[in-house]
Amino acid sequence: MSLAYFVRRIIFAALALAALMTSAFILVRLTGDPVNLYLPVDASDAAREAMRVRLGLDRSLLAQFLDWAGDMLRLDFGMSLWHNRPAMDVVLEALPNTLALGAIALTLAFLAAIVAGSIAAVNAGGWIDRGINVLSQAAASVPDFWLGLMGVLLFAVTFRLLPTSGFGGPVYWVLPIACLFARPFGTLVQIVRGSMIEALNATFVRTARAKGARSKRVIFVHALRNALLPAVTVTGDLAAQFAGGGGVVEVVFGFPGIGKLLIDGILKRDFAIVQASIFAVAVVIFIINILVDMLYASIDPRVRVE
């Protein structure tokens, strides 16, 4: 991964981002006029028109676009209509929450999946494997919002061990993390198990055994590192998905993250928020992809030369 490679990558990412933001601009404006949502039903037509003029929505799409593009180049995302604050401020408040939530859930899922997947692979075909298989398939198949609701019903409403929802100390994180944990865990267990079985059957593992390496060493030193490669790739994809917020889960728990912000922003036709969050998410995803590439290269020497 040379400097030229990075430069090329950044240029491509910038172009993609520009395309993305432009299409977001056009699409967001097609989703409808925010004026009705922001004025009381009884407001007069004159007042509605005045607001349109104030927001510049009466001008041609091209004129709006040029203005917008100029602002974009100065990284000015405008004022949020709903929050009445600079949109980027609002987004930057929500982003760390989402990143923390996603990072914790994904890290736990990744680590747990390595353990469970390896155990399943080593016992492939046995009852432990079957148990882990059923559990992970269930985890991969459970709708996260439903899991959240049932979690609230069970742990908050019935047993009163955890808060129902909201944001604050560690207890507020338990249920959202548990919900976001399930699907990546289930998916990753399947992947780790598969690649681990493949690795355990690989010739180099036979070499290690022929060298006299005992099971632990064979599994953890030789097979696991090779088996991690696909899991790292998939985790990277999952991380990118999570960067957009735990979407539905954030809504279920009223968790002030970027996913909820974006969903609310679309619902409330808050153009500035939508664009600023899309921008932020795209940048985060770009960084995640680079990090995953670097991680991948550090695990697999074959990638480094290419």
Binding site: G125, N201, A202, T203, F204, R206, T207, A208, R209, A210, K211, G212, A213, R214, S215, R217, H222, R225, N226, I299, D300, P301, R302, V305
Partner: protein
């Protein structure tokens, strides 16, 4: 007492088509300092034999059902797994056919050679790192200091096989098992590798089981030959005797189907048909369907391995009689 004595070894695998017997009563022995060639077509059970010795049969789907493997006087099959592991690499070493697959892609080659020392807790006099460099030099890898830090994919096929050999001889084992070590290589490289193997073996006076289907290599390296067919040994003989005087029709066919430098015959006689399906072996002698000499009895009874002279055994109802 032979260094390695295998008796009546039976190995099976479960497949979608049912249970197949990969080895069906294999017996042979290996003396100290001897080079034994295991000769046969692919699927005849040569590699499974090596895997059985090295405890590399994956269970499931594979299983060793019967037999004994005596190494240095002890039956190693009933030994606890860890004791068997201790033998592997230190006293019995294995070299695989495809060195690219056999080397772990994510570790530097030097690390992988050093690992052999570490696994067995041996530290040579000059330290492990020096020993690795010495080994790399010994197997003919130039600039070992730099090369040791490189990864398998950065080496050529021949170089990788040299690294495998370095790894195998690191602890000066009593037995080196080479499983078709030259098959994946270019012809010119093949000769170098065979030469190298011979050299390193002699250096430590190790025994060797050389698994191959290449008669040329057999002639060059081996002291004795065991010919395998469909999970059984059909003939064992001194290498010279076998080449001059094959008794089993299959050995005979193998020799006749390959060009020979020492013969004037120009016509090659291929063995008709193809290797049988291991899940659906012919009754009696497995070779009878391809054998011009077969008779009714061949379908009824499996011919036993019978002694036919010193160090010579053949399993055939109608062995070829020397001309």
């Amino acid at each position: 007492m032979a260094l390695l004595e295998i008796k009546n070894l039976q190995v099976s695998f479960d497949t979608a088509a049912g249970r197949i017997l990969a080895l069906n009563g294999v017996s042979f022995s290996l003396e100290r300092g001897e080079v034994l060639a295991l000769l046969g077509e692919s699927g005849s059970g040569k590699s499974v034999t090596a895997a059985a010795i090295m405890d590399l049969i994956t269970d499931p789907p594979g299983a060793i059902n019967e037999g004994t493997i005596h190494f240095d006087g002890t039956d190693i099959l009933p030994l606890p797994q860890n004791e068997r592991r201790d033998l592997c690499g230190s006293r019995i070493a294995l070299i695989f056919q495809d060195a690219l697959a056999a080397l772990n892609p994510v570790y530097p080659v030097g690390w992988q050679i050093a690992e052999t020392f570490r696994i067995h807790g041996r530290t040579p006099a000059g330290g492990i790192n020096q020993a690795v460099l010495d080994l790399l030099t010994a197997v003919g890898i130039p600039d070992p200091g730099r090369r040791a830090k490189q990864y398998p994919h950065e080496f050529s096929g021949g170089m990788r096989q040299r690294i495998m050999i370095a790894m195998a001889v690191a602890l000066e084992p009593d037995i080196i098992i080479a499983d078709e070590p030259t098959t994946a290589l270019d012809v010119t490289i093949q000769a170098q590798i065979v030469d190298l193997l011979d050299r390193v073996r002699k250096r430590s006076d190790a025994s060797m089981i050389f698994i191959t289907h290449d008669l040329g290599v057999v002639a060059e390296l081996a002291d004795r030959v065991a010919v395998m067919y469909a999970g059984r040994i059909v003939e064992t003989a001194d290498v010279v005797e076998l080449f001059e005087d094959p008794r089993h029709p299959y050995s005979n066919g193998l020799l006749a189907s390959q060009p020979r430098m020492d013969s004037d015959e120009t016509e090659l006689l291929p063995i008709p048909g193809s290797a049988p399906n291991p899940a659906d072996l012919p009754s009696g002698c497995a070779f009878r369907t391809r054998c011009s000499r077969s008779a009714d009895i061949c379908a009824k009874t499996v011919p036993a391995l019978q002694s036919m002279g010193p160090g010579r055994q053949v399993a055939c109802h109608f062995p070829v009689v020397p001309a």
